[in-house]
């Protein structure tokens, strides 16, 4: 064998999906329940008393943001746990001794994490139809953007899972950085609704661009230039791939 080990990548991919099936309640039902609660509280209960934002009913306005909230946290945690657990339990030996390189590993681990996120996104959007009347103006772009974000944050999660050397570090970034940035990134509001200087400060939050990129695919309106959103997301994905390439070249935290 000298070329790409497609069977190896497929084996990792299938196993990671099977692992998710073993914990289907935690992997799928828990995020769906959480998102449903958001829809009930912010959409149905409070949303009815809120003004429309950019001509979009408030309950419908928050759908892309809530979807992104789940996508970011689930992609990150799925991929980070996917690679951290073999390191923690020692089963990483098999991966390191196998004829699989960075491409196969990414396709397997990150592909599976992104797939799980996409399944989750579909379920959440389906769930949302029970609570909210929303539309998707650019469905193909929406699917493409969801895949892009899921892949980028699965890559990011993979890096996190390699960097972390304990469970605390594994959880600290999603909980203390990603979650606050997402909440402050216009998930529940348009940044135009913020007073100065907060609306300007919000522009330094990268999540604002992700939320607005996805929201544009839904309703055709955005607080920021959507090309900046797409550009930033693709750049983030490219940076993550470059970092993972470096990790595999140097064996950082993988090989002693």
């Amino acid at each position: 064998m000298t070329g790409f080990n497609l069977r190896g990548a497929y084996a990792i991919y299938v196993r990671e999906l099977m692992r998710a099936m073993r914990t289907a309640f935690q992997s799928i039902l828990a995020p769906v329940l959480t998102t449903s609660l958001y829809f009930i509280v912010f959409g149905a209960a409070i949303g009815g008393r809120m003004q429309a934002v950019d001509g979009v009913n408030y309950a419908a306005f928050i759908v892309p943001g809530l979807l992104l909230l789940t996508l970011l946290s689930e992609s990150t945690s799925n991929a980070s746990f996917g690679i951290y657990m073999p390191r923690f339990t020692g089963t990483i030996y098999e991966l390191l001794s196998a004829p699989v390189g960075v491409a196969e590993t990414l396709l397997g681990f990150v592909g599976a994490a992104a797939t799980k996120s996409l399944i989750l996104a579909a379920i959440i959007l389906l769930t949302a139809t029970f609570f909210v009347d929303y539309r998707i103006e650019h469905p193909i772009l929406a699917i493409g953007y969801i895949m892009l974000v899921a892949s980028a944050f699965s890559l990011f999660g993979f890096i996190l899972g390699i960097w972390a050397d304990n469970f605390e570090k594994l959880g600290i970034f999603p909980m203390l950085i990603l979650m606050p940035l997402t909440f402050l990134g216009g998930t529940f509001y348009s940044i135009d609704m913020l007073p100065e200087p907060w609306s300007t400060i919000a522009l330094f939050n990268p999540i604002v661009y992700l939320v607005n990129g996805l929201r544009w695919t839904f309703y055709g309106s955005s607080d920021v230039n959507i090309w900046v959103s797409f550009g930033l997301t693709i750049s983030f994905l490219a940076i993550c791939i470059a970092i993972i390439g470096f990790i595999f070249r140097t064996g950082y935290r993988l090989r002693t």
């Binding site: 069977r7 497929y10 084996a11 073993r22 020692g90 098999e94 090989r255």
Partner: protein, 311 residues
């Protein structure tokens, strides 16, 4: 000399903290042999295996397997190498059959349920194929790791302490499995603390200490070269001087003349013959004896001597 399946040259590994785990190791492994790597804890056995299998990044040196340089042609080489690690490291929630199937796919082999069944049956795991690995006994878990390592039909198999912590019956069972692998043409490199394991199994033995290979030789040649016979002959009456017919043997007087101690031979049985001749010479010289205690040195004695000398 048979074709080398693995060639290691000048292999050195210095860990980040400055600890030198391997120090210029040169080693050639012949196709089809069972090679036992012996050494005390921390000698560098697992690091050496890790360097070949891709778990450890060598500081310097080269490793070639099947004629391929592992630094550049690692995909081709790794596809033909199997590793059974020392620790029971596997996804404990996965069923046995699926775990073995995964390993086969990971190493790039096409699915082959018949081959997987054959491997599972050979390790008495077929009945457990749908069981989660965590529900198996320690010995069965170790068999699962062997099955996973064999799933892609490797030509070169590393077994890192395969019988550590397993009971006597399972050890014998493992030895049988390793013999079967040899018959199938698999080259086996095993590390072990149990010297008797190497004595029973190995064609060649390497002794490593402080990251350096002290000796590599055919087991029988090593036994012949370093083996000894020791005999204690209890005399009926004290002896003060050895008669001329006995002094030709490598014997000394001990226990205030009540004992003759023979130390000689070469580990191939020559010592026993010497002792038989010695007893005849004693009888001919009229020296009566009341007991003989004779002992052949083992590979363990040789190992302890070698490791002790280099300490």
């Amino acid at each position: 000399m048979q074709e080398p399946i693995l060639e290691i040259s000048g292999l050195t590994k210095v860990y980040d903290g400055g600890f030198k785990a391997l120090d210029g190791v040169d080693l050639q492994i012949r196709k089809g042999e069972i090679f036992a790597l012996l050494g005390p804890n921390g000698a560098g056995k697992t690091t050496l295996i890790g360097a070949v299998c891709g778990l450890v990044r060598p500081t310097s040196g080269t490793i070639r397997a099947f004629g391929l340089d592992l630094a550049s042609d690692w995909r081709g080489a790794r596809a033909r190498i199997g590793l059974v690690p020392q620790e029971l490291a596997t996804d404990m929630f996965e069923p046995v059959g699926r775990a073995v199937k995964f390993s086969r796919g990971l190493f790039g082999k096409s699915p082959d349920p018949a081959r997987v069944e054959e491997i599972l049956r050979s390790l008495s795991l077929w009945d457990k194929r749908d069981e989660q690995i965590r529900k198996l006994s320690g010995g069965m878990k170790r068999r699962v790791l062997i099955a996973k390592a064999l799933a892609h039909d490797p030509d070169l198999l590393f077994l890192d302490e395969p019988t550590a912590g397993v009971d006597v019956e399972l050890r014998r069972d493992m030895w049988r499995q390793i013999s079967i692998l040899r018959e199938q043409g698999v080259t086996v490199i095993l590390t072990t603390h149990y010297i008797d394991e190497a004595e029973v199994m190995a064609d060649r033995v390497g002794i490593i200490r402080n990251g350096k290979l002290l000796m590599v030789d055919d087991k029988d040649a090593m036994m012949a070269r370093l083996g000894r016979t020791e005999a204690h002959i209890n005399l009926a009456a004290p002896l003060t001087k050895l008669p001329a017919s006995v002094s030709a043997f490598p014997v000394t007087i001990a226990d205030d003349g009540m004992e003759l101690v023979y130390r000689g031979g070469d580990g191939t049985g020559r010592g026993k013959r010497d002792v038989a001749d010695l007893t005849k010479a004693l009888s001919a010289a009229g020296i009566d004896y009341i007991g003989i205690d004779i002992r052949e040195s083992t590979l363990e004695d040789i190992f302890v001597d070698l490791v002790g000398e280099s300490a």
